[in-house]
């Protein structure tokens, strides 16, 4: 679970970076994403075909399509302002997508339109990065160990899966978003969207296998509104 | 292919009597006549091979699950007749040119030219007919990729039409030369075009039967 924690922290860190703009102090939307019902049991990943990765784990790693935490909390949910907020310019910092132990860290990476996406390979094996967007231009590149990071940009807002053509179990997601008001839930499933100027917003929560939910919220002044999302878990 | 040679001696002009050339030149001339005839047969062999390959592809594909049935547009029957007719008219042209006349004067060449003209019009008619057939299928919502049968139908008919068009181009050239009858014309050019054209008719009959029975 440690890498997962890292993933969560990392994502939060990035989102924090992203929102730490010059925007005037405003309201905040925060809340928790949970599920009800029994989620599918994540199967262990068999990495035997890639010894250099397999030997990095004492206990088998589980698939990350559904990651749950204490109190039915749901991780890897992208929560973002889908309407009401103006488009923000891309921050100068790059969103980093790491390949380590034949897994994507973070599993879900959220970043902004035209923000630099930096893809790093820390493994001793050659990886292949094949994002499968529908609106944006599709590309498919391999990254042998020792090659410089791949730097890319996406110019259309879209959430889409990314896979490694060499290691079938490696699946992640890119969330390319219009504005800087977003978060990806980590351990505990909670999120915060600070610095929202007064106004009416639509908040969307996206999960890769449970789909999307939206809620409207109106911010007046520097209050903190709580918005919770509850997803319906499927056993299979 | 003989157009190679034919264009070479366009500078030879006017109705002057054919010169008695050196024996050597005569030999060489005959050799090239023979060569272009072997050429056309070899070419036809290659074309046959290609369509044989398509046919075998069809037989392989036939067995598969998504193989259906394709109702051929009835205009194809008409097209068949048109193409066969064109074959006959070209034969008439050949008779007119070489049939009985020992030396051709402007009249026979004109006559032949007209027959060739008719032939190529019929040829164009055939192509138009094929095009019509495709339009009819489209109208029924049957496209190239709709099912394997339609794929094969469009493929075979299109490639055949392409070959016919090549023939038509040569016919245009022939007709021009014959009607403007002050130009020389190599016998082999005409003969080989005729062979090619007849072959196209035969090939079409084969393809048509194939489509009828298999698609």
């Amino acid at each position: 679970m440690k890498p997962l924690l890292m993933a969560g922290v990392a994502t939060l860190a990035f989102s924090a970076l992203a929102v730490a703009g010059p925007t005037p102090a405003g309201g905040t939307v925060s809340g928790k994403v949970t599920y009800e019902g029994t989620p599918a049991k994540m199967k262990p990943i068999d990495m035997s075909k890639e010894p250099s990765c397999a030997k990095m784990y004492s206990t088998p790693v589980l698939a990350e399509t559904v990651v749950t935490g204490s109190g039915n909390s749901l991780e890897n949910v992208v929560v973002y302002v889908s309407a009401g907020a103006p488009d923000d310019p891309a921050p100068s910092t790059a969103a980093v997508f790491n390949q380590k132990g034949c897994r994507y860290i973070p599993h879900v990476l959220a970043f902004q339109v035209n923000q630099e996406l930096k893809i790093v390979n820390e493994d001793q094996t050659s990886h292949n990065i094949h994002p499968l967007p529908k609106l944006n231009r599709e590309w498919n590149k391999s990254q042998p160990p020792g090659t410089p990071p791949i730097s890319e940009k996406y110019d259309k807002a879209e959430i889409f899966p990314v896979k490694c053509n060499v290691h079938p179990w490696m699946h992640g997601n890119f969330a390319v978003l219009k504005n800087s008001h977003y978060a990806v839930t980590g351990d505990g499933g909670s999120f915060t969207l600070p610095n929202l100027p007064p106004g009416k917003y639509t908040i969307t929560a996206w999960h890769e296998s449970y789909g999307e939910q939206t809620q409207d919220v109106t911010i007046s002044g520097s209050e903190t509104k709580t918005v919770n999302f509850v997803f319906k878990a499927k056993p299979y | 292919m003989s157009s190679t040679i034919a264009t070479v001696n366009t500078q030879a002009n006017a109705l002057r009597p054919p010169q008695r050339a050196s024996a050597q030149a005569a030999l060489r001339y005959a050799a090239h006549e023979r060569a272009s005839t072997s050429g056309i047969w070899v070419g036809l062999f290659a074309i046959t091979m290609s369509f044989a390959a398509f046919t075998s592809a069809l037989f392989v594909r036939e067995g598969t699950a998504d193989w259906t049935h394709l109702a051929l547009p009835s205009i194809l029957y008409l097209n068949t007749l048109v193409l066969l007719a064109s074959s006959i008219t070209l034969e008439c042209a050949r008779r007119a040119l070489y049939g009985n006349a020992i030396t051709q004067d402007g009249e026979t060449t004109n006559k032949a030219g007209t027959w060739v003209l008719v032939t190529l019009l019929l040829g164009l008619g055939f192509c138009a007919g094929q095009f019509r057939a495709w339009l009819e299928l489209r109208a029924e919502g049957i496209y190239l990729a709709t099912n394997p049968n339609s794929s094969f139908f469009y493929l075979l008919t299109f490639l055949h039409a392409l070959h016919v068009l090549v023939g038509i181009l040569v016919l245009v050239y022939l007709a021009g030369r014959l009607i403007a009858s002050h130009r020389t014309l190599r016998r082999s050019l005409f003969q080989n075009t005729a062979i090619y054209w007849h072959f196209m008719a035969v090939l079409w009959v084969y393809l048509f039967l194939l489509c009828r029975t298999k698609l």
């Binding site: 599918a40 994540m42 199967k43 262990p44 990943i45 068999d46 990495m47 035997s48 075909k49 890639e50 698939a63 990350e64 399509t65 094996t125 050659s126 292949n128 391999s142 899966p161 896979k163 053509n165 060499v166 290691h167 079938p168 179990w169 699946h171 890769e208 296998s209 499927k234 056993p235 299979y236 | -």
Partner: protein, 266 residues
């Protein structure tokens, strides 16, 4: 210069034969019931082909040696018996080789392909995909769930496109990235390709068979030695081809049963 060529030819002949004669490149151990036939066949062929190779090079060398740089007007000779002898020789030599190898060789081929799998053979489904093998066991119910390509979700470890939601038979199917089989039991491998052409090659098993998309082939073999062996893909299948492999894990019967139980438990 001719003499030099002769010498070089001899050296080449010897140097080429040396690694073979001294077994510098031994075949991996054979762990199959049918493999010995193939190995014998390979061995016989090696002798016949190897001999003809060395012989030809030596003859060439000898002739080059003796017929270069002859003094002016040295008499020309024709090969005794002329072409006829050589043709007859060729027909006899190669003809017998063909019969010997060709006919005998069919036995080895037949062992693999003309014998039906035994009734009690363990049925395992192998799926090849870019760029991994996955293996499916029917599970306690002994039934394979149906395949639904649209249900394939690799991120969620659903490599085969099973539909446990509606398909009961699929729920207990065991999917593994490693081919685990009991020793000395015949295995009947049902081969399925998910995307493009692949091939199933286990050197030690002396088995190689293509996965052909849309054409589900099957293969049967019996492993006779406990151990872990490499399964590699030998049909170019894309950028990860070089890295497309899995392991064949041959276990004792009880170990195999335990493994199955443990997998079913997950």
């Amino acid at each position: 210069m001719g003499k030099l060529l002769a010498v070089v030819l001899v050296i080449i002949a010897i140097a080429s034969a040396y690694p073979i004669v001294t077994h510098m490149f031994p075949l991996p151990v054979d762990i199959s019931t049918h493999g010995h036939a193939i190995d014998e066949q390979l061995n016989d062929t090696m002798w016949e082909a190897g001999t003809s190779f060395v012989a030809a090079q030596l003859v060439l060398a000898f002739f080059v040696w003796s017929f270069t740089g002859r003094k002016e007007g040295a008499p020309l000779k024709n090969f005794p018996g002329g072409a006829r002898v050589l043709i007859i020789a060729a027909f006899l030599l190669v003809g017998t080789e063909i019969l010997a190898l060709g006919v005998l060789g069919q036995k080895a081929w037949a062992n693999v392909y003309f014998t039906p799998p035994q009734a009690d053979a363990i049925q395992i489904q192998a799926q090849a995909e870019q760029f991994a093998f996955y293996f499916r066991y029917p599970g306690p119910d002994g039934k394979f769930g149906g395949l639904h390509p649209d249900k394939i979700d690799e991120g969620n470890q659903n490599y085969f496109g099973l539909d446990p939601e509606n398909d009961v038979a699929a729920r207990d199917d065991i999917v593994s990235g490693e081919l685990v089989i009991p020793v000395n039991r015949q295995v009947h491998l049902l081969m399925h390709a998910k995307d493009v052409g692949h091939s199933f090659y286990v050197r030690e098993l002396r088995i190689q068979q293509d996965f052909v998309p849309g054409l589900d082939l099957s293969l049967h073999f019996t492993a006779t030695k406990i151990g872990k062996y490499e399964i590699v893909c030998t049909q170019l299948c894309g950028l990860g081809h070089y890295n497309m492999k899995a392991y064949l894990n041959v276990m004792s019967e009880p170990d195999y049963e335990n493994w199955l139980k443990q997998q079913a438990g997950q």
